[in-house]
């Protein structure tokens, strides 16, 4: 399973704000294999969403993609998505690479019925000849995403649906054009756990059915454990560790990953005391020199303050960016 569908190299995004240049992500590199679920995990503000959006140039002012390449491989050909003109990249967005965002409320238009919105997505990529035909097709799509009563629901407006149903619609729109890559940015964060379980199941089901590759973004280690094949852990705009999901949980190598895992309560285990990571996440306007984790790291030494650690393969397929590991 080492057929690469995406190759991300040195992706760097800065935001030019009043307060200074926010170095949101710096030299982020990773590959995504065809058919896998690749998870990007990390705490608030570490750059997960910016990374996901930058892949198809969805960065708005004052942000700018400063550097990097994103190779999309298809049928033996490859194209650098960051080199495409807006008109060209539009053809990839939605069709080859679809997004599902955290808040279904904001990705649906309150003024149109959900059937119309699914239909519009189909029409935009020439999957149907008219909106009317699209609405008929929308019923099927809503059925695939296990919407109860799809014939009735197709004419509902977003406010008439529950949070879980709205997320089913956005997934429906996401898969409507049979994308090769589905990027799900915190798709269940706004939902209750029993509904989250249903939606995660649906994503697995869709993946199985359509063989799509999933790039899953989450801050929830439980969701990572459930869904991911491989995981990249981000901290303050950089990937600090990347490995298969079992290695990440069983043999974390980076001190941040280690700390993060110990801070997450596991409901199956009786924990006397959670371990914590001292300090707080640094400002990305003036990130710490060298390793960005050094002010909070128990292993930090001289070199950590002086030199940026590169993401290096320390074991087969297990990459770590740390001077002391």
């Amino acid at each position: 399973m080492t057929d690469k569908v995406l190759e991300v190299k040195n992706l760097t995004v800065h935001f030019y704000t009043y307060a200074g240049v926010v170095k949101a992500i710096e030299n982020v590199s990773f590959d995504v294999y065809r058919g896998e679920t690749f998870a990007l995990v990390g705490e608030t503000g570490c750059g997960k969403s910016v990374t996901a959006r930058a892949l198809t140039q969805l960065i708005e002012s004052p942000g700018r993609i400063v550097e990097g390449e994103v190779y999309y491989h298809k049928n033996g050909e490859s194209v650098d998505l960051l080199k495409l003109e807006e008109e060209e990249i539009r053809k990839y967005r939605g069709k080859e690479i679809a997004y599902i965002f955290q808040d279904p409320q904001s990705s649906l238009d309150p003024l149109y019925s959900v059937g119309f919105q699914v239909s519009e997505a189909l029409y935009a990529h020439n999957k149907v000849k008219s909106i009317k035909e699209g609405i008929r097709k929308a019923v099927d799509i809503l059925r695939t995403v296990l919407m109860p009563d799809p014939e009735k629901r197709v004419s509902n407006y977003p406010h008439e649906l529950s949070g879980g149903m709205k997320q089913r619609v956005t997934i429906g729109i996401g898969i409507s054009n049979d994308p090769k890559i589905l990027i799900a940015d915190e798709p269940t964060t706004a939902l209750d756990v029993t509904v989250q379980a249903q939606i995660l199941n649906l994503i697995k089901e869709m993946k199985r059915k359509y063989g799509a590759t999933v790039l899953l973004i989450t801050h929830d280690m439980g969701v990572v454990a459930d869904m991911a094949d491989r995981v990249a852990v981000m901290y303050a705009g950089k990937i600090v560790e990347l490995a298969d999901v079992f290695s990440i949980f069983k043999e974390p190598i980076h001190p941040y990953t280690e700390g993060l895992l110990k801070a997450v309560p596991n409901p199956l285990i009786k924990i006397e005391r959670l371990e914590t990571i001292p300090g707080t996440v640094p400002s990305l306007i003036n990130p710490p020199s060298g390793c960005r984790f050094n002010p909070r790291c128990p292993l930090a030494s001289q070199i950590c303050r002086a030199k940026i650690p590169e993401l290096e393969e320390v074991k087969n397929g297990h990459y770590v960016a740390c001077h002391n590991r």
């Binding site: 756990v193 997450v264 009786k270």
Partner: protein, 341 residues
């Protein structure tokens, strides 16, 4: 610390003879109801039965966890037992006295003993006040004399993991976790016995959350505090609570010893909830059998007849849709409301 608490002037010492007051129970909630009226143009169109016949007890020095999904009534329970919202019906015995019958003087006393900490670390602090002013505010409000206010506040800040250097800074200069610490220092300024913690860490990152949870535990031990800990996150509730209650659509469906319930959840909803929590361990999570429930919680305006969970319950029998099951004891300190038991 030089606080002088005014004498308690209780003219409504109301011991309800129906319940024997056990020494260890600080709070006993009996058949609590909160119905919010749905206002029509002229008449009330109906009620949101946010809390419907809920009973539980909390022992002194313990944490009672309240879990359940969005809208099930957790916050309403927390605010009603502090009388921040007036209950529709039921009794709330605090130290044996029914607070629903309290008049002003007793309420003043109760408002010092019982505090609440909210979820949102951003809106709960006045942005124009310094940390010193924020922490002193409740003390001033209750007219309590403090010998050396600065020392008093510094002591509190140190208890919650802040320090003297933070005294004259403003909320916007602090991170979310630090703001929750300020809120906590303020709560402690009144030397409360009982604190409702309503999702105190749900706006925070896990590494920060772990820190705050540990602080809450430490302070509880040090000051012998009693907590009602509200959360939708079972893993956290397990970490924090001695006993717990699981709510569904305004009802408590399972109550008891936290460890026991985690070992063997009985109510089908508790089972579904437990099974839906993704365990942060892929060896377990990827292999576990999941009990998936259909649909989403229905509206508390017209809740389902019989057992409110029956339309989603994988084990529902005929009686479940017809008659409401009572909360019955199944073993020592373990109660379930379900026709299967």
């Amino acid at each position: 610390m030089g606080t002088m608490l005014p004498a308690i002037t209780g003219d409504t010492m109301n011991f309800d003879s129906g319940y024997s007051k056990s020494n260890s129970e600080l709070l006993m909630v009996k058949n609590l109801k909160k119905y919010f009226p749905l206002k029509g143009l002229l008449f009330t169109k109906g009620y949101v039965k946010a809390v419907d016949n809920v009973s539980f007890e909390i022992k002194k020095g313990e944490t009672f966890g309240l879990v359940g999904e969005s809208g099930c009534g957790k916050t309403t329970v927390g605010r009603t037992i502090l009388r921040l919202i007036e209950p529709t019906d039921g009794q709330i015995l605090y130290d044996g006295r029914d607070i629903t019958k309290f008049k002003k003087n007793d309420m003043d006393w109760f408002r010092r003993k019982a505090q609440i900490m909210f979820q949102d670390p951003y809106s709960s602090l006045n942005p124009r006040q310094t940390v010193f002013q924020i922490v002193m505010e409740p003390v001033n409000h209750h007219g309590i004399d403090v010998d050396d206010p600065e020392r008093f506040v510094i002591d509190l800040l140190e208890k919650v993991g802040l320090n003297e250097g933070h005294l004259y800074r403003y909320p916007h200069e602090f991170s979310g976790g630090q703001r929750q610490r300020i809120a906590l220092a303020r709560i402690l300024s009144l030397k409360p016995e009982f604190v409702v913690l309503d999702e105190p860490t749900s706006a925070l990152d896990v590494s920060v959350q772990a820190n705050i949870l540990n602080t809450l535990k430490d302070i509880q031990k040090e000051l012998n505090l009693t907590y009602l800990f509200i959360s939708h996150d079972l893993a956290i509730v397990k970490y924090m609570s001695h006993r717990l209650g699981v709510m569904y659509l305004g009802k408590l469906v399972e109550v008891g010893n936290s460890e026991r319930i985690f070992e063997e959840p009985l109510h089908p909803y508790t089972k579904a909830l437990f099974s839906a929590i993704p365990i942060p361990d892929p060896e377990i999570e990827k292999r576990k059998d999941k009990l998936e429930v259909k649909g989403e919680p229905p509206s508390p305006i017209n809740p389902p007849s019989g057992c409110r969970f029956h339309p989603r319950c994988p084990f529902a029998k005929e009686i479940c849709g017809q008659k409401e099951p009572a909360l019955e004891k199944v073993e020592k300190d373990h109660f379930v409301s379900c026709w299967l038991y």
